[in-house]
Structures are given as structure tokens and as C-alpha cells.
């Protein structure tokens, strides 16, 4: 429960903070975010004693057990450390952001996104179920997209955000595949089971594939070579975002995954070589490029890439000591990188630029920041006594011990030392260039504004953290890091020999060489920059953009080739696919099943022949539209007769009502259309289409025949049995509609309502040319509303309404129901439109059709919800039998109310469509909208 609230607190906060952002003082959302974060942090720290003693806290709730997804959390030392880092750093970032955003818009949005991101990160590190973790994993990709594109009005921000999303999102997909594979091998997605099944996984034939997929996920997230591109491009984000995402959280998620899945996947040659090679490549690339970046944040971004490569390399080596070194460096990196990012932001705020060729000699203007940055930069460079020195020396020791490939044993420490050298050089550079190195040049803001104490406070705290960790390294390594390594590898980590850090040995000389080399490199920087500028410019961003554009265009072309807007083509493709896929299988099926056929009487045969004749008539005569419509009406009539013949009165009634309404609506549409369809397609195409149609029709017919001649158990028997006891009605069709499948019906009437409102919206402002007869006697009748028709139509209305009421009320037990009754009412009303005209009819009736639709759906919903209050499932119907005076025996069922909702929606929707289509052609019709 505690873990659930730790994750939920920031997420709920993310929903609430935007509401507070409207408050007058910008302090309020900041304080609210701070409180939420602090609460999560305290909850975590309360668990610390239990967890650090080696206990594992888990909690689990079922979510979708059928796919193995559960809401499951676990907290061990590793998760606790990451969670504390995420919330603790989050708290400092909120403090920093309050000052950073002072006088700028968007602080409220930032806090909300930041809390959402925090919640997602907490979810990743505390999930026990890997599928559950994936949700948070994807969430970090999405939220980081919005955070990096925070200044969405700037093109580089949008591009950087998109690149991040493409790379990390793509990695997320790979990770999902890897996790699904692991889960299917182990039979569970719970980490406890997966970590315990390490031997099984490593021995499995799919192990290389799983490893590749999982590593793709981790490497993209942690910006490993060659996926490191997104990180520098994400520097367009506001500095608090960079400081949070790129020092402590997002990029560490990949490392976390490597540490977490260590027992399941590590300790193989494949792991060792792939992870450590990628780590080394990233370490070198990042360190090299960082030196040559003139933008403070970009330098820090590449240095982050390089440090992540260092940690990844250590994860790849995979020994207990390497794990300790890696996790220790991870802590140190967060401690020195976040304040450096914050410094870059504070300096940018003070001077208006991040270009180190212009920012120089700021120590005069901000002495406090100078001291604090000296501490953190020294830690990053790896100066003795600072925390960074210790973890870097641990790294050197590991590199000396690493037996990667025996003849190349010397290579690892050499490369490590070179990387250390560059890392020292850029650390000197960012400190010396910003605070010393002569006078500032052409600063956009002059004199530099003094940074507020508040913005420096988190920097001071983190610098103090650096010093503290350097001072108390032994205690921290033994107390915290060792517990983390144990939790990560699943094996009790041996005590780390801290003494070797103080020996004067090879590792010491490596450190010394790196520092001295770094100093020399920095001294020679002007010459190096010149050399670097002569290198051919390879802008990966442009290549990426080019790739993206190509991919987008390709996808677009493909979609247009497939989906060209021709309905004929879609239908042809669908039917062809069905024929191709099902044809070969069906060719071998015995068409005639075991069931005896119903004897055919001459009348039925005649009816079938007539029905086929109408269908053929429609095909042959479809160019004359009115004729085709007429034949469709006849076909409908024969279908009705067929339903009646085979004792399906409900279907017969429905078919008939739908047929009439459809004909009227199509007639309305036909008024706007040419009366004949011209021949548009070639003879070849028509014959091709005929062949497809005949094949498809024959196939469907044969399949139906094959199915119907076989004995089968269908769900119908259940419906027939349960209709009276379960639904309280003897008309099974109606009971299915309002009870067994009530939810479907609810969905259908909703769709009907939406369709009607869409017609309303489309025709609302539609202006058609007034159709004035060009000749006087174009029409056969000059009177639009003949007297005989008017007189005949009026008495039909009450009769039809009575029939409608009768059909509606008996619906539950006899053929009928709300749908048919609704259509009868509509037909009767539309007769009044036709006979008396739209204006005449509307003078005499209520036309609030839209409220009618809404009311109907609402009534049906409320009826369904009513059963929830009775403790039953949604839409369970209730019925009882009563003896009432005068009326006698009567059955009352809630299904009737539901059916009334159906009735109302059908009437409202159909009338809305009819009236609005009718209005289009009406010269004298009401000008205002109908419905």
C-alpha cells in the first residue's frame, strides 16, 4: 500500500497542480508540488531501515491475470536508492524551478509534467511486474517528449523532442518484445520469478534475441552509442528539465534495468562483450565530443553520455566489485551533474547566453556559485578527496582487472585512462571558462544579474552532498552501495576493499595521468578547437531529420497507394483477401454436413426465385436509380416474407420497418443526385469485379450451407432456456436485446444517436441552390400537398401510434419491442411531413429531437445503473408479477424502461435525420435549425 501511494502521490499531484496554477501566486503550485514530493520521499525513507536490512517489500493486486499483468510493487535496496534519488532530486529541482521560472510563463505546466515524470520513474523502479513496469517506461518516454518540447513554439525544441520520442519509444517497443519473450519462457512476468529463472533464460535458444531486445530498450533510454544522439538534442528543454532528466532520472532508467535484470541475463560472454563494448564506445565518444562543445549545456550533455557509458561498461563487466563501482559512480554522477546543469541554467539566466566563448570571468559577479561549481566540477574531473575521484578510481581498478579479450588486456585500462583524461579536460573547461579565463565578451545581459540565493540553494546542497560522500565514502559504500549490489545481483556482495583506493598503485598512476593529461589538453584547447573545426562536419541531427522525413513520406505514399478513397477498391480488396485466404482451406471442406435438410415446399422455392430475381434486377438496373430503389423495396418485402415463413416474426417486423425508412431516406438523398448512374469503368474492370463478386457470393453461400447442415451447439439454447427465468420475457429476441445483450444495444443506440447528430451538424449550415423549376410544368402536379393525401394521412397517425404502442408494450413477451415501435412512429410522422409539408407538420409537433436522443440514451443508461445500486451487474433486468385492480395480472420489468430508452432514441434520431434532410430542399421550410 505504501508503495502504491508513493507512485500515486506524484501522479495525483500532476493532475491537481494545473488547477492550482491559476492561483495568483506562483508559489502555490511550487509548494504543492514540493509537499507531494516530500510526502513520497518521507514514505520511502520510512521503509529504509527495513529494506537496508535486506528485506524485500512487495505488494500485489490483480489487474489482468489472463495476460499475467498485475499491479505489483517491490522495494529492495536498489529500488529504494533509485526511488530516493528520484524524489530527492525532484524536490531540489522543484525548488530550483521556482526561481528559474520566476517571471516566465509555464511554471504550472512544468510542475505538473515534472510530477507526472516523477511518478512514472518511481513506477519503473518499484514495479515487481515487468509488464506493469513497461507502462511506466512508456510513460517516461511520452512525458519526456512533452518536457523536452516544453518550448513548443521553437523548432529545435520540437525536433529534439521528436528525436527523443522516436529513439526512446522505439527502444521501448524492443524492450516490450524482450519482456514478453522472457515472460513466455519463465511463465510469469513477476521479477521474483524471472530473476530466479536466470539459468533457464541463459540456456534458452532465444537468449541472444532477448538480450538484444532488452539491451536495445536499456541503451536507447540511457543514451548509449549510437543512440546517444537524442540526449544532446534534448538540451533545448528548460534547464530544470535537463537537470532532472539527464542527471538523475530518465537516463538512469536504462542503467537501472541493466542492474535489475542482472541475475536474469548477465554473466554470459554475450552480455559481457555487448554491454561493455557499447559502454566503452559511449564513454569515449561522449568524453571526446564534450571537450569541443562551446555551449555549457551541450558540454554537460555529452559528458552525461560519457559517464553513462562508464556506468554501462561497469555493468557489462558484471563482477560484484564492478557493480559496486558502477552503482557508486551512479550516485556520484547524480550529485555532481545536477548542480552543474543548475549552474548552467543560473548562468544563462544571469547572462542570457550559454556560449562559453562569451561567458568568462564570472567569479567576480557570483563568488558563491564559483565555489560551489569548483566543488562539483572537481568531483566530475576526479580530483582526489572528492567523491568522483573515488568512483573513478574504482573504475580504473576494474578496468585493470577486466579480462575482456586476453591479447587486448592492456586496451581496456588505456582506453579508460584516455576517457578519464578527456573527462578531466572538459571538467576543467566548464569551470575555468565560465568563471575565469579573462573578461566576459559581449554578454546579452550586462552587467550579469546576481543569481538569487534560492536558485543556488539546491546547488549548495548537492555540492555539500559531493563533499559528504567523498568524506564518508567508506560508510556509504559499505552501508548503501553494497546492499544495492546485493539486491541487484541477488548474491550477497563481498565487502569492498576500500583500502585499495588509497594505495599508490597502477590505478593511482592512471588517475594522475588522466588529471595531468587533462590539464595539458585544456591548456592546448585553442589549437585543439582549430583542429576540431577542420574535421568534416557530420551533423547527426540533419541525418536523423532526413531519415524521419523519408520515413514519413514513404509511409504516406504507402498509405495513399493502399487507401485511395475508392470504396469499390476497398470492397474488392477485402473480398479478394477473404477468397485468397479462405479459398484453399474451404476447397477441401465437405460441403454437405450430416444434418438432414428441411423439406422444401413449392411456395418457398417460388419465393426464393422471386427474391433472387429482385436482386438480379437491382444489379442489372442499378443505373436507373429510382428503379433500383424500387426493386430494393421489393427485395426487402421478399426478405420479410422469408422471415415470416421461417417463424421469425421479430425479424420480419424489423426488416419491414427498416426497409420503409431506408427507402424514404434514400428518396430524400436522390433528390440531390442525378437520376442515372453513368458508365464510368471499363468493361475489363467490370468483368473483373463481377468475377470477384460471384466468387465471394458463392463462397459465403457455400460456407453458410456447410455450417447450417452440421449439427452444432450454439449459444441460442442458453438464450432459449434462460429467457423466461433470467430475463422475464418469453420473446427471446427481445430479451436478448434488452437483457442478455443489453450492453450491445446501449452501444448501438448511442451510435445511432451520434450518426443522427452528425447528419444534423453536416446539414446545419449547408446551403443548396434553391431548386426552382425551370419549366412551369416540369412536375406532374402543381400542388405539393394534394387534398386527398392530406386527408388520408391524418387518420393514419393515431392508428399508427396505437399500433406502435401495442407493438412496444407486448414486446417483452411477443414479437415487437422498442426499436420496431420507434420506427412505426417515425413512419407515421414522416407521412405527415410528406402529406402536409415540413412547415405544416412542425407547427403541430414538438421538434426537440436532440434532447429526445440524449434523453433516450440517458434513460437506458440509468436503467442499467439502477441494477448496480441493487448490487447486481450493470443492466441486469428486474421483473415482477402483480395483480392490479382493473388491469388484472400484469408483469412489470425494468427491461421495459430500457426499451423505452431505445424507442425514444430511435424516434429522435430518425426524425432528426429525416427533418434535416427534408429541410434542405424545402424552399418554404422553416429557416431555423430543426432538432
Amino acid at each position: 500500500m505504501t508503495l502504491l501511494s508513493v507512485v500515486l502521490l506524484p501522479l495525483i499531484g500532476a493532475l491537481l497542480v494545473p488547477l492550482l496554477a491559476r492561483a495568483r501566486s506562483p508559489l502555490i503550485p511550487a509548494i504543492a508540488s514540493g509537499i507531494v514530493t516530500l510526502a513520497a520521499l518521507s514514505l520511502l525513507l520510512l521503509q529504509a531501515p527495513t529494506v537496508l536490512s535486506g528485506e524485500l517489500i512487495t505488494s500485489e493486486w490483480a489487474w489482468i491475470p489472463s495476460i499475467g499483468l498485475s499491479i505489483a510493487f517491490r522495494l529492495d535496496a536498489l529500488a529504494l536508492f533509485f526511488a530516493t534519488l528520484i524524489t530527492g532530486m525532484g524536490l531540489l529541482i522543484i525548488l530550483y524551478a521556482h526561481f528559474y521560472f520566476a517571471g516566465k510563463p509555464g511554471a504550472g505546466r512544468f510542475y505538473a509534467l515534472m510530477l507526472a515524470f516523477m511518478g512514472a520513474m518511481l513506477g519503473i523502479v518499484t514495479s515487481e511486474n515487468l509488464l506493469f513496469m513497461l507502462i511506466f517506461w512508456e510513460m517516461t518516454s511520452l512525458v519526456s517528449f512533452v518536457l523536452i518540447g516544453f518550448h513548443s513554439d521553437q523548432r529545435p525544441a520540437r525536433r529534439g523532442a521528436r528525436m527523443t520520442l522516436v529513439i526512446t519509444g522505439g527502444g521501448g517497443l524492443a524492450l516490450m518484445a524482450g519482456i514478453v519473450l522472457m515472460g513466455s519462457i519463465v511463465g510469469s512476468f513477476n521479477l521474483t520469478d524471472i530473476l530466479a529463472a536466470g539459468d533457464e533464460l541463459r540456456a534458452h535458444a532465444h537468449y541472444p534475441l532477448i538480450l538484444t531486445l532488452v539491451l536495445l530498450g536499456a541503451m536507447t533510454k540511457s543514451a548509449q552509442f549510437p543512440f546517444h544522439l537524442w540526449l544532446p538534442n534534448a538540451m533545448t528543454a528548460p534547464t530544470p528539465v535537463s537537470a532532472y532528466l539527464h542527471s538523475a532520472t530518465m537516463v538512469k532508467a536504462g542503467i537501472f534495468l541493466l542492474a535489475r535484470l542482472h541475475p536474469a541475463l548477465a554473466d554470459t560472454d554475450a552480455w559481457l562483450y555487448s554491454v561493455s563494448t557499447v559502454g566503452m564506445a559511449t564513454l569515449l565518444t561522449g568524453a571526446f565530443i564534450a571537450m569541443f562543445k562551446h555551449d555549457t549545456k551541450e558540454l554537460l550533455a555529452y559528458s552525461t553520455v560519457s559517464h553513462l557509458g562508464l556506468i554501462t561498461l561497469l555493468m557489462g563487466l558484471g563482477t560484484a566489485t564492478a557493480l559496486v563501482a558502477g552503482l557508486f559512480h551512479l550516485l556520484n554522477h547524480a550529485l555532481f551533474k545536477a548542480p552543474l546543469f543548475m549552474m548552467a541554467g543560473a548562468v544563462e539566466k544571469a547572462t542570457g547566453t550559454r556560449d562559453m566563448r562569451r561567458i568568462n570571468g564570472l567569479w567576480r559577479h557570483m563568488p558563491l556559485l564559483t565555489i560551489m561549481s569548483a566543488i562539483t566540477a572537481a568531483s566530475m574531473a576526479g580530483l582526489p578527496l572528492f567523491n568522483g575521484y573515488l568512483s573513478k578510481k574504482m573504475f580504473f581498478i576494474e578496468s585493470l582487472d577486466a579480462n575482456v579479450i586476453s591479447p587486448l588486456n592492456w586496451l581496456t585500462p588505456v582506453l579508460a585512462a584516455i576517457a578519464g583524461l578527456f573527462s578531466a579536460a572538459y571538467s576543467f573547461r566548464i569551470f575555468h571558462n565560465v568563471f575565469f579565463n579573462g573578461q566576459p565578451r559581449e554578454l546579452p545581459v550586462w552587467p550579469p544579474r546576481k543569481p538569487a540565493l534560492g536558485i543556488q540553494l539546491p546547488i549548495i546542497l548537492l555540492a555539500a552532498g559531493c563533499l559528504f560522500v567523498g568524506w564518508q565514502a567508506e560508510g556509504i559504500v559499505h552501508g548503501l552501495i553494497r546492499a544495492m549490489a546485493t539486491a541487484s545481483s541477488g548474491v550477497k556482495a563481498p565487502a569492498y576493499d576500500m583500502g585499495q583506493l588509497h594505495h599508490v598503485g597502477p590505478a593511482f598512476y592512471m588517475s594522475l595521468a588522466a588529471l595531468i593529461g587533462g590539464l595539458i589538453l585544456y591548456a592546448l584547447r585553442e589549437r585543439l578547437f582549430e583542429l576540431y573545426d577542420q574535421l568534416p562536419p557530420a551533423d547527426a541531427r540533419e541525418i536523423f531529420e532526413w531519415l524521419m522525413t523519408r520515413a514519413g513520406n514513404g509511409a504516406e505514399r504507402f498509405v495513399h497507394a493502399l487507401e485511395n478513397g475508392s470504396v469499390q477498391r476497398y470492397i474488392a480488396l477485402i473480398i479478394l483477401t477473404a477468397i485468397i485466404m479462405a479459398g484453399p482451406v474451404l476447397a477441401n471442406v465437405v460441403w454437405y454436413g450430416a444434418k438432414p435438410m428441411t423439406p422444401a415446399d413449392p411456395l418457398t422455392i417460388l419465393g426464393a426465385i422471386l427474391m433472387m430475381a429482385t436482386a438480379f434486377g437491382v444489379v442489372l438496373g442499378h443505373r436507373n436509380r429510382l428503379f433500383a430503389l424500387l426493386l430494393l423495396g421489393s427485395a426487402g418485402l421478399f426478405v420479410t416474407l422469408t422471415f415470416a415463413r421461417f417463424s421469425a416474426p421479430d425479424l420480419a417486423l424489423t426488416q419491414l420497418s427498416v426497409e420503409v425508412i431506408a427507402v424514404i431516406i434514400m428518396m430524400l438523398a436522390l433528390s440531390f443526385l442525378p437520376q442515372t448512374t453513368p458508365v464510368e469503368s471499363s468493361r475489363l474492370r467490370r468483368s473483373r469485379d463481377s468475377i470477384i463478386a460471384v466468387l465471394g457470393g458463392l463462397g459465403t453461400g457455400l460456407v453458410s450451407f456447410a455450417i447450417m447442415t452440421r449439427p452444432q451447439d450454439s449459444i441460442s439454447d442458453f438464450f432459449l432456456e434462460q429467457s423466461v427465468p433470467g430475463g422475464g420475457g418469453s420473446n427471446v429476441v427481445n430479451v436478448i436485446l434488452v437483457d442478455f445483450r443489453g450492453f450491445d444495444t446501449l452501444g448501438e443506440i448511442t451510435v445511432l444517436g451520434i450518426a443522427a447528430v452528425a447528419v444534423f451538424a453536416l446539414t446545419r449550415n449547408l446551403q443548396l441552390k434553391h431548386r426552382i423549376p425551370n419549366e412551369r410544368d416540369q412536375y406532374w402536379a402543381s400542388n405539393p400537398h394534394p387534398l386527398i393525401l392530406r386527408t388520408m394521412a391524418r387518420p393514419i397517425l393515431p392508428i399508427a401510434l396505437m399500433v406502435s404502442a401495442y407493438i412496444f408494450l407486448r414486446g417483452h413477451n411477443m414479437p415487437g419491442g422498442g426499436f420496431i415501435a420507434g420506427l412505426i412512429t417515425v413512419v407515421a410522422l414522416s407521412l405527415q411531413y410528406m402529406a402536409g409539408g415540413l412547415a405544416w407538420a412542425h407547427d403541430r409537433m414538438l421538434t426537440s429531437f436532440r434532447p429526445l436522443i440524449g434523453g433516450g440514451i440517458l434513460l437506458a443508461c440509468l436503467t442499467g445503473l439502477g441494477s448496480l445500486f441493487m448490487g447486481l451487474e450493470f443492466l441486469t433486468s428486474w421483473f415482477g408479477h402483480y395483480e392490479l385492480p382493473v388491469l388484472g395480472h400484469i408483469e412489470l420489468a425494468t427491461a421495459l424502461l430500457f426499451d423505452l430508452g431505445v424507442f425514444t432514441t430511435v424516434v429522435g434520431a430518425t426524425m432528426l435525420i429525416l427533418a434535416n434532410l427534408g429541410k434542405l430542399m424545402t424552399v418554404n421550410g422553416p429557416g431555423e435549425e430543426i432538432g
Binding site: 417463424s647 412505426i824 410528406m834 424545402t922
Partner: protein
């Protein structure tokens, strides 16, 4: 008596369905076709009622009632369209 007459009556009405449909398909005029469809409706009512008596079931009589009620509206719509070029004015 009824048992003997019913099949005969059904057969006769079926023949009239056939002839009605012939009129709908052949025309020659659109008015002939509309009249054909209207008569088809009338004969369909007869077939349903006779069929109901023959099958000893009263459940399908409502279908006849609805054809009587709604078939008329369909014919009115088509005629209205024919004489005025529009159904609802």
C-alpha cells in the same frame, strides 16, 4: 374444407406475386413499376395471413398489419418523388 382451399389460395397468390414482380421488372413505365410494388405489398399481406392460418400460428399477423400500414407510406413516398421531385417539401 379449409385445409383443401388454403394450398390452392396460397398457390394462386404466389402466382400473383410472380406477375406483380414481372410488372415491377418489365415496366415499361415507372408508374407501372410503382403500382406493381404496391400490389406486391397487398398480395404479400394475403400470403402472410394465409400462411399464418396454414401454419396455425398467429404470430406473423403483425407483419401483415405493418405491411398494410407502412407499405402505403412507401408508395406515397415514391409517388411524391415522382410527381414533385422531392419527398418532403
Amino acid at each position: 374444407m379449409t385445409e383443401a382451399i388454403l394450398p390452392v389460395a396460397l398457390a394462386l397468390f404466389s402466382v400473383s406475386l410472380l406477375l406483380n414482380l414481372y410488372r415491377v421488372l418489365r415496366g415499361p413505365d415507372i408508374i407501372d413499376r410503382i403500382l406493381g410494388l404496391d400490389t406486391l405489398n397487398v398480395n404479400a399481406i394475403a400470403v402472410i395471413v394465409l400462411g399464418g392460418i396454414y401454419m396455425n400460428s398467429s404470430l406473423i399477423f403483425e407483419a401483415a398489419l405493418l405491411i398494410a400500414l407502412m407499405g402505403f407510406v412507401g408508395t406515397v413516398a415514391m409517388t411524391k418523388y415522382l410527381v414533385r421531385g422531392d419527398v418532403i417539401e
